[in-house]
C-alpha cells in the first residue's frame, strides 16, 4: 500500500524521488501440548519501506518493522521483531552497505527467512539472538553472495554493554547440479554473545544473565531438487575460551511440494555441549489458497528433547498458524 510518493527538489532541480509503502503481517496461532492449549497472536506487524531514487539509480532503501503486538515476551521478542535498517547500494558489482538492526548473516539465517514460519533454525541455542544492530556490506561476486556484518551482540534496541563486537562473515555460491539448484554457504562468527547453559534455556525469555566469547564455524546447504527442498546446516564452535570443549549443532529440513498449494515438511535439529543436548524433531504441512499467495496455513507437530545431567525431558506440541501478509 502506497502512503507517500514525491520528488525532492534542490535549487529547482529534481534530485530524487521518494516512495513510501506499508505492508503488514498477521500470525494468529493455536498451540496444544501436554501442559496447555492456547490461542495466541504470534505477531501483528507492519513494515514501512522507503525507496529513494535518482533519475538513474537507487540511492537508498530504508525499512522499519513495527510491532503492533505479540505474545512473545522478553528477550525472545528480539528474535523476530525489530528489523530496522538502511541499504545504500554503491553500484553494480559493488557491495551494498547496510546499517541498522538486521538478521545476523550466519548460516541458513542469511538466506532463509523463518520469521513467518513455525519451524525455526537453531539460532536461539547456537547464537542466542537473531537480530542485532550493526553495520556491514553484502553483495555478489559472480555466482557467490557474500556478507560481512559487525554488530553489538546484545540484540535489538539495546546499547552495547562492553567494547567487544561480533563479526560475522558468510560466502555462498549458487550453482546448478543436474536438475538441482545448490547453494553452499560457509560462515564464520566470533564475538561476545549472550550465553545460556542447556539447563537454563527455558529461562531465555528473561534475558541473558551472562555473556561469553563465542566462536562459530558453519556450513550450510540449500538444495532445490524439483519439488524437494533440502536445508542443511552444521555448526561447530567454542564458548568462553578456545581451550573449552567443542560445542556443535546441526539442522536438517526437507520440504516436498505435492502441488503449488500443498507441501509437507520434516525437520530435525540439535545443539550439543559438554552438559548434554537439546534437540527438536518436527513434521508438518503448509497449505496455500489456490490464487492467493498472501495466506498460508501451517501445522507442525514437534517434540523437544532435553538431555542433561539435571534434565531428561521430552515434550510434544502441535502448533497451527495462519500467516497472512498484505
Amino acid at each position: 500500500m502506497k502512503i507517500l510518493s514525491g520528488t525532492l527538489l534542490l535549487a529547482g532541480i529534481a534530485v530524487a524521488a521518494v516512495r513510501v509503502d506499508v505492508n503488514g503481517g498477521l500470525y494468529p496461532r493455536f498451540l496444544v501440548s501436554a501442559k496447555k492449549s492456547s490461542f495466541f497472536l504470534m505477531g501483528a506487524e507492519a513494515t514501512v519501506r522507503a525507496q529513494v531514487t535518482s533519475r538513474t539509480r537507487d540511492i537508498l532503501t530504508a525499512a522499519v518493522q513495527l510491532t503492533a503486538g505479540s505474545a512473545m515476551q522478553g528477550w525472545t521478542t528480539g528474535f523476530h521483531f525489530g528489523e530496522a535498517y538502511v541499504l545504500f547500494p554503491t553500484g553494480l558489482r559493488l557491495p551494498t552497505i547496510r546499517i541498522g538492526q538486521a538478521v545476523i548473516p550466519f548460516g541458513l539465517m542469511a538466506d532463509y527467512d523463518i520469521h513467518s514460519q513455525i519451524v525455526q533454525t537453531s539460532f536461539a541455542r547456537s547464537l542466542g539472538l537473531r537480530l542485532d544492530p550493526g553495520i556491514g556490506i553484502l553483495g555478489s561476486l559472480g555466482p557467490a553472495d557474500y556478507w560481512l556484518w559487525v554488530s553489538n551482540g546484545n540484540g535489538p534496541y539495546v546499547m552495547d554493554n562492553d567494547v567487544d563486537k561480533v563479526i560475522t562473515t558468510r560466502i555462498a555460491p549458487t550453482f546448478l547440479l543436474g536438475d538441482a539448484e545448490v547453494t553452499a554457504g560457509l560462515s564464520g562468527l566470533f564475538g561476545s554473545l549472550p550465553h545460556w547453559s542447556l539447563d537454563s534455556l527455558s529461562a531465555m525469555v528473561s534475558g541473558p544473565r551472562d555473556y561469553a566469547a563465542k566462536y562459530r564455524l558453519g556450513l550450510d546447504n540449500t538444495t532445490d531438487w524439483g519439488p524437494l527442498t533440502l536445508r542443511l546446516e552444521g555448526i561447530i564452535g567454542k564458548d568462553s575460551t578456545l581451550s573449552h570443549p567443542l560445542v556443535f549443532g546441526y539442522y536438517g529440513e526437507a520440504r516436498y511440494s505435492f502441488a503449488y498449494w500443498i507441501q509437507a515438511l520434516g525437520k530435525y535439529d540439535g545443539w550439543h555441549t559438554e552438559a548434554g543436548s537439546a534437540r527438536n524433531l518436527g513434521a508438518g504441512v503448509n497449505l496455500r489458497l489456490p490464487d492467493v499467495s498472501m495466506v498460508e496455513f501451517q501445522v507442525l507437530y514437534q517434540i523437544d528433547f532435553l538431555n542433561t545431567g539435571a534434565h531428561d525431558e521430552q515434550d510434544w506440541s502441535i502448533v497451527s498458524q495462519v500467516a497472512v501478509s498484505f
Binding site: K2, R19, D21, V22, N23, G24, T47, R49, Q51, T53, S54, R55, T56, R57, D58, T61, A63, Q65, E83, L87, G91, L92, R93, T96, R98, A102, V103, P105, A110, D111, Y112, D113, H115, L138, G139, S140, G142, P143, D145, L176, G178, D179, A180, E181, D224, G226, P227, T229, S257, F258, A259, Y260, Q263, D291, V292, S293, M294, S325, F326
Partner: protein, 185 residues
C-alpha cells in the same frame, strides 16, 4: 543479498518478486551501468484493461508491480521486471528484460531465478527461454501452439513462465507504452 531485501518486499505478493541477481543479469542482458526501482500501483481502471488484454483476471494480491529501468550513462536502454508465476510444484520467479521498439515493447531476455520444478535445466535452457526473445506484447504465448514446452511433462511450468512473461509485457505496456497513451486519450 536477495533475502536481505525480502523484508523490504513486505507483502511478498506475486507481483513484488525480489530481483535476486541484478549485477549478473544487467551485465549479461544489457552491459549497462545502473538501474533503479520503480513501484507502480494497479488502480481499478488499469486492472480492468490489463485483464481484458490478458483474457484472465489478475490475482488478488497483484496490486503493485515493480519495474527496474536500466541505464547506460544517462540513457535508458531497457527495463527489467520480475514476477512470481505458479508452477506445478511451487513458485517460479521469472525475470524479463524488455526494450522499446517502434512496434512497442519486446522481450530482450528471460531468466528463471528460482523454481521447484523437476525439469529445472530444461526450463532454464536457451532452447526454451530463447523462444521468448523478440516476442511482442500482442503475440500469443501458448505452450504447445506458439511456444514449445521446456520438456515432456513440464507443460504447467512452461505455461507458467509464458504467462508471467506476457503478463509483465502487458503491465509494462499499460504503464509506459501504447496502453498508457490510450488510457490518457
Amino acid at each position: 543479498m536477495a533475502l536481505a531485501l525480502a523484508l523490504l518486499a513486505g507483502g511478498a505478493s506475486a507481483a513484488l518478486c525480489v530481483w535476486r541477481s541484478p549485477d549478473t543479469d544487467i551485465a549479461e542482458m544489457f552491459d549497462a551501468g545502473s538501474y533503479k526501482t520503480v513501484f507502480e500501483d494497479i488502480d481499478d481502471a488499469r486492472q480492468l484493461r490489463i485483464e481484458e488484454r490478458l483474457g484472465a483476471e489478475l490475482d488478488p494480491d497483484e496490486t503493485q508491480f515493480k519495474f527496474f529501468p536500466v541505464f547506460r550513462g544517462e540513457k535508458q536502454v531497457g527495463t527489467v521486471m520480475t514476477h512470481v508465476g505458479k508452477g506445478q510444484f511451487g513458485a517460479i520467479e521469472v525475470v524479463v528484460a524488455a526494450v522499446e521498439t517502434d512496434s512497442g515493447p519486446v522481450v530482450k531476455a528471460v531468466r528463471i531465478q528460482r523454481d521447484r520444478e523437476k525439469a529445472k535445466q530444461a526450463l532454464r535452457s536457451d532452447g526454451f527461454l530463447g523462444q521468448f526473445r523478440g516476442k511482442g506484447v500482442d503475440e500469443p504465448f501458448v505452450i504447445g501452439e506458439d511456444l514449445k514446452t521446456a520438456a515432456d511433462g513440464a507443460d504447467v511450468a512452461s505455461q507458467a513462465v509464458a504467462t508471467a512473461v506476457r503478463k509483465l509485457l502487458v503491465v509494462y505496456d499499460e504503464f509506459y507504452g501504447s496502453g498508457r497513451q490510450e488510457s490518457v486519450e
